[in-house]
Symmetry: C2
Subunit: 409 residues, 2 copies
């Protein structure tokens, strides 16, 4: 039971459509899952490179190849069978991608953008070159990282933020160090021994926002409205649209995101996460009393764009496909005055499959449920819920109630 | 290349989720395809019974069984592996379904509703019992159908509409007979010999509309707004929302559709197609000068509901799943003041795969493209395009332009 059928018919069906571009996706998490869903309407054939047949996107896809994202042979086979290669995550080897590009394959975003985005130090350098606001920062790659980190703290004030330059996500790989002793302890431990690190000045955060932009190879670029990303313990819990910001900060955030996309030449989606700082006593900064500082970049569909599936005129997943296929981009306007998306995170004591709770969640009026086909584990992103309406608080209340049911809280 | 993978992992992945209801769909056309798409977000596992691996929905589904919809063994196997069986079309044997129900399987809509809906004479009888407006009609199943048909025309006036009681669609199986000679010619030919027929009085049609309703087993029922279905040669070309009707006719149409759904006890979606008649000289009828007459019923997602994917707060495909799974139903309100859906029909001389024209179609601003993965043939429904906005004519213009590009016109 439950097998996927293999037949001569299926082979013919796939191969006869090679006048239509096939998109290969490296990775099969929830971002790929929702891209697969969007591809159905556009009749874009998708082939996944999945670690496991039980990966989120693999569960809903008819065309899955099993293989590791850093296996050169698996990537070469994916590229050979597809017209465009794109990504569910950035945990890939940019050198392998560069070799695929050199061999004539189309990789979007390109190897150069992937290399940049997967290294937070290179992100900072690119942002600075594009004139975007970074915090003070420094790579800790000298002969004596401990001395450099402590000196950075003395120069810019404590606390200092130490970050793994590569591989962090959802709050992992970020350490807030209150004093020189904490800095020394971090670098004396296993992290200091094995991880390329960087230091950043601590930014007093009033709120966090994100802007998702899409860019085609020829340069056409569009921005979605800025969203507030409500974070708890480094994990995004909620998206609120519109972000509660002054119009001038919204415009500035969108301008910054567009300028980064152009500066690095991304193709596909780029999510730009930003901090809005607390205003200081002297009233420095914008009319909110705060300034924008770029946090980090991701060159793919992003959690901060999940609201767009129902909340914008073009979903980020369809938009990503349009961008990497060099098709005209779609409108980004919201479909309602207020949109709230709440992530479904595995509750501490929850058991069972969250999919068994969808019916109960839908008892909350007017919510849109998206589950990722993942087994519950505490803190794991299992899905999200989006609600639309006129009043942001009423909308948030509905989305939260449905998400709590799904999480098994 | 292009094979679907089969692995022990995949089997485990499917089977470990049996605490979640699996839905089996008989048939794998575009309605099943769009249901499969909607099921991804709801994490509803879908298993298709497809005639061919190249069927529209089979192309995008990981769980496909090949078999004929009237093969008792294939249906029994589908029912055995699924918690609910539902339908992409009504070309099934209701007696087989009744046996599955008797064996304890859940079939939604049930065998009784399927038997009713697949026979236009039984539809008329059920509509009359529910107090819904039929045209004058008569089954032609007596000893002398020719005499009965001519007598019907003499009694109700020519032209008369003869219909195949079963199996017609998209204008097939309907004949408008201008006089007794035409009636005799029809019955003397091959159709008269082999097809159960019925006669209906000709209705002078001002426009055609449809109302899609959804009903749960316990009785909860919701109606989508009435849509105008613009027909050319018996095939639906466009949907316009709101339908250009007086408020009283809209209310009456929705009331009729809800009462039919309750009267026949449908579970899942029911599409009720209605004629709005020309008003007569005496001003009889509603404030438009017209009256409503039910045309026919379909107990499944329906072409007249395709606008709901982006145009309503709950798509008809998600709604059908919610109804057959006995989950709370979703809101049916439109997402914009004007919604127009235009079907993509294969053009007379068009060649190539319409999927190769998606990029060109998306150059029309703000259109949503849905292709069904079907090869182009003249007149074949290959997909649809939906546009949203404030002005119905401007919205229709965009949807038509994109549909024309996709059709290869």
């Amino acid at each position: 039971m439950g097998h996927r059928h293999t037949s001569t018919d299926a082979v013919t069906a796939t191969d006869e459509r090679r006048d239509v571009a096939r998109v290969g996706i490296v990775g099969a998490g929830q971002l790929a899952r929702m891209t697969v869903q969007a591809a159905i309407g556009l009749a874009v054939p998708i082939r996944l490179l999945a670690d496991r047949a039980t990966d989120s996107a693999a569960l809903v896809s008819p065309d899955v190849r099993l293989g590791a994202p850093d296996d050169p042979a698996a990537l070469a086979a994916l590229a050979a069978g597809c017209d465009v290669v794109t990504f569910d995550h950035e945990l890939v080897d940019a050198e392998i991608l560069a070799r695929l590009e050199a061999a004539g394959h189309t990789v979007r975003p390109g190897a150069g953008v992937v290399a940049l985005v997967q290294d937070k130090r290179r992100q900072r350098a690119a942002l600075a070159a594009a004139g975007c606001p970074n915090p003070a920062w420094q790579a800790l790659d000298g002969a004596d990282p401990e001395r450099d980190l402590v000196a950075f703290g003395e120069a810019h004030g404590w606390p200092v933020v130490a970050k793994a330059a590569r591989g962090g996500y959802d709050g992992r790989g970020v350490w807030v160090l209150g004093d020189p002793d904490a800095a020394r302890a971090l670098l004396a431990g296993p992290i200091g021994a094995g991880t390329p690190l960087m230091a950043e000045a601590f930014v007093p955060i009033a709120r966090e926002i994100a802007v998702v932009v899409a860019r085609r190879p020829g340069g056409e670029v569009v921005a979605y409205p800025a969203v507030e990303t409500v974070q708890v313990d480094g994990i995004c819990r909620e998206l609120r649209i519109p972000a509660p910001l002054s119009p001038s900060l919204v415009v500035e955030a969108e301008r910054l995101a567009l300028s980064v996309a152009e500066a690095i030449g991304v193709v596909g989606l780029l999510a730009v996460e930003l901090f809005v700082t607390h205003g200081d006593a002297a009233g420095e900064g914008g009319e909110d009393g705060g300034r924008l500082v770029v946090n980090e970049l991701a060159s793919r569909p992003h959690n901060s764009g999940h609201w767009t599936i129902e909340g914008a005129r073009t979903s980020q997943f369809a938009q990503h496909l349009r961008a990497v296929l060099d098709w005209p981009l779609g409108p980004t306007a919201p479909t309602a005055p207020a949109v709230v998306t709440v992530n479904v995170l595995g509750a501490a004591g929850a058991s069972g499959d969250p999919a068994a709770r969808v019916g109960a969640a839908l008892a909350v009026p007017g919510v849109q449920v998206h589950l990722y086909g993942k087994a519950a584990r505490p803190g794991r992103k299992l899905g999200h819920v989006t609600a639309l309406g006129d009043d942001p608080d009423e909308v948030a209340d509905r989305a939260r109630r449905a998400a709590a049911v799904l999480a098994g809280e």
